[in-house]
Symmetry: C2
Subunit: 215 residues, 2 copies
Amino acid sequence: MGTMLGLIVTDAPLSAAFAQEALARVVNETFNCVSVDGHMSTNDTVLMLANGASGGSVLEGNELSQFARGLLEVCAELARAIPADGEGATHLITIDITGCASQATARRIARSVADSPLVKCAIHGADPNWGRIVSAAGYAGVPFDPCKVALRLNGYELYRAGAPLAFDADQVSASIRDNREAHIELGFGEGTENVRFYTADLTAEYVRLNADYHT
Amino acid sequence: MGTMLGLIVTDAPLSAAFAQEALARVVNETFNCVSVDGHMSTNDTVLMLANGASGGSVLEGNELSQFARGLLEVCAELARAIPADGEGATHLITIDITGCASQATARRIARSVADSPLVKCAIHGADPNWGRIVSAAGYAGVPFDPCKVALRLNGYELYRAGAPLAFDADQVSASIRDNREAHIELGFGEGTENVRFYTADLTAEYVRLNADYHT
């Protein structure tokens, strides 16, 4: 979570059990799917406080689903803001890992790609470097068939069925350079589990901020 | 291994079985204990070729131990040279993880500390930042008692029994700044397993080299 205290406050009347369960589920899909540099902090905390001040009886049925949808929306926006505001970041990178055999596999691959300094530098340098992205998936420590891997970068198809495709490198490079956001889509064709993960690129300014700052 | 083809050539008369077994063991303690940026390469390869050209009969007993010691020395020197020559590196960082319950635990902690961009930036900036080092061990995903953790940096004791000590930050900082090598010693008091790991610091020059270089 990039050293963050996340606090969600609501006046909705919630049971403690529902509030805890809903928050845990939503955190798993949002705050636990972002990284800036991969260094996890001892401070990372998300709390939800529900005081029931809106009055009325404890939410039930459809109202609970509505609340959960709203909570997901709020947490997704907050979580995304962490790498978007990462130290020295010039790109927010959205990583969609699709078609995995398990959720755990999808998450390990996403984290491996997100935390690769070479992938982060490639995006910073507007380099459509499919090799760095695919190899970061390869060392995630989970098995997959390399011949089924497919990759899109900013919507451009760079890699399919385990092999690179011909593409206009200048065009893809321009699409990275000219946008504050980049989109990596990596498909595995092994199952139906997906994950969306957010990270930041790696810049000289990140190094300056973290090398020059002393405790 | 930092995208490296390692080739060891010997004219010693070795059996194929011994050569393979000795190389695998030595690689585990040398080439598999270095990282530059944590991004593993599909190219990383170590081969040993033994043609027996020195003549004589196949090595036995003491001769084998002597050969294995020499092989360890050669591989240790070559492996250490990889992060020492890391892209943009200004420090070679030696990480000694000691007193772990298992070799696997020691290795996971070593890799977690070695690959933390914040630890790497701290060394680059000559910042004796014990918090970054200890927290990188903390998120390695292996259990240990935090109250037994001890840390030395370049021989200076910064942390003992799970708590920071008073130390002369300027003195420790100068010892990092004025040397091309840095030494992190992290003790856990959980057992007898140790590992020595080598990595490089993270610099703006690393980012420049890897963001500006396009495939």
